[in-house]
């Protein structure tokens, strides 16, 4: 009897863990962006960018991927970008493009304004499920706190 109970318990636990793992992450991207703007310090005045421009900057198809971006004036490399892909696989592609974008920024700022390289080296580029988040700032700790709050 004890044996049967243990097996049933193990099965139940397995099913529970699997069910939890399959739970889809749903983030209010507008709220996340707003929280980043409010709680993370930016040296520059980062401003919202239109969809078509986002498409050319990050090379993502904004008709498929929901995207919001705030970018600095050109004096700094500071930025926030939040992407919501249709699925995890697409999000991985976006992550690759996000990393490529950061590398290009490093290359651009290296000669133009080397002070920004530190921010770019410590840039938060995170992907979880169908979401990709970029945050370039000197205030990395607060950026991490806000992002983790939404991705947990």
């Amino acid at each position: 009897m004890k044996k049967v109970t243990s097996i049933l318990l193990a099965l139940f636990l397995c099913l529970f863990v699997t069910a939890c793992g399959q739970k889809e992450l749903n983030i209010d991207t507008a709220s996340l962006t707003s929280d980043l703007l409010k709680n993370v310090k930016f040296e520059d005045e980062i401003s919202e960018i239109d969809g078509n421009i986002i498409s050319s900057i990050y090379e993502v198809d904004t008709t498929v991927i929901k995207a919001t971006a705030y970018i600095g004036s050109g004096a700094t490399a500071e930025e926030i970008a939040v992407f919501e892909a249709p699925d995890k696989e697409k999000a991985k592609e976006v992550l690759a493009l996000a990393n490529k974008h950061i590398e290009e920024q490093k290359s651009d700022f290296e000669s133009y304004n080397p002070k920004e390289i530190k921010k770019l080296n410590n840039a938060k580029v995170v992907q979880k499920d169908k979401y990709v988040i970029i945050c370039v700032t000197d205030d990395e700790n607060n950026a991490s706190k806000v992002i983790n709050k939404y991705l947990k």
Binding site: E43, E45, I53, G74, D108
Partner: protein, 287 residues
């Protein structure tokens, strides 16, 4: 005796009458001659006067006609030509679609323009730190998966009808401004060669804030003013349009507002939109 005396007297009287008659006739003839002469000379004068009037009238008519023709010619020149020594004047505002066939060439400031105006229908050949020499040499533009220089990208794109250039802020520290003008001229020549029908607009350099200008030996408004004068002269020499964007963004002291740029140079979003509005109201109709 008395008869002889009477005869003699009668003869004397006849002679006197004859002499008197002669004198009168001579006088009459003389008067007639004078009269005739006067009449003739008078009519001649009138004729001369008439001829003179006629000649004067014809001459003045001719002059007026010529003046009118000259005016007409001048008007035609104004209608067809363009005074390239002057900045582009205020025009009726165009909408964003006007920039469908426009190419923007510039540095980080033009990048900001692209980001903040949302004008995504235009083509941008921009790069941070871009200069009038590196437009020919630095492969910074992604074209069909390949990195090419700005001018190579221009050569590969023959579809654009307008080219807006703003370069010079990164060259303010150059020792020889004539080198800057020479290289800038090469850009214009290259665009003209690859796309002869394109309208070329040289945009004036946007000034910096007062605090930046007064604290920086390179990035200051005196230097920017000097470069803008060179650019206006270049536009005149190359017969391209000089669009004075600086006037649309600077305050009465010649500086951009303190709150317009985080670092005194790179414009924030509202000022980039102001820049676009200036371009939209300063265009030249293609003849």
């Amino acid at each position: 005796m008395v008869n002889n005396y009477n005869m003699c007297r009668q003869k004397k009287n006849h002679r006197a009458t004859f002499i008197l008659l002669c004198i009168i006739i001579t006088l009459i003839v003389f008067l007639c001659i004078i009269l005739i002469f006067k009449v003739f000379s008078g009519s001649n004068n009138k004729e001369q006067e008439q001829i003179t009037t006629k000649v004067t009238t014809t001459a003045s008519q001719k002059t007026t006609k010529q003046n009118k023709e000259n005016d007409k010619e001048e008007n035609q020149t104004n209608a067809n030509g363009y005074d390239y020594s002057l900045p582009v004047q205020v025009s009726e505002a165009v909408d964003n679609s006007y920039f469908d066939d426009a190419v923007f060439i510039g540095d980080s400031r033009t990048e900001g323009f692209m980001l903040y105006t949302g004008l995504s229908n235009a083509t941008y050949y921009t790069h941070k730190g871009l200069m009038v020499n590196t437009v020919f040499t630095s492969p910074v533009i992604n074209m069909n998966g390949q990195k090419v220089s700005v001018m190579d990208a221009v050569k590969l794109n023959s579809k654009f009808k307008k080219a807006y250039i703003m370069l010079g802020i990164n060259e303010l520290g150059w020792a020889y401004s004539n080198l800057f003008v020479e290289k800038y001229g090469n850009i214009i020549d290259t665009i003209k060669q690859s796309n002869p029908n394109a309208q070329i607009y040289i945009q004036s350099l946007i000034p910096v804030t007062y605090s930046k200008s007064s604290s920086d030996k390179v990035y200051n408004n005196n230097k920017i003013k000097e470069y803008n004068q060179l650019l206006q002269k270049l536009a005149q020499d190359k017969k391209v349009y000089y669009v004075n964007v600086a006037e649309g963004l600077a305050e009465s002291n010649g500086c951009i507002p303190e709150d317009s740029a985080f670092d005194g140079i790179h414009l924030k979003k509202p000022y980039c939109q102001k820049w676009l509005e200036y371009l939209k109201t300063h265009t030249v109709k293609n003849n």
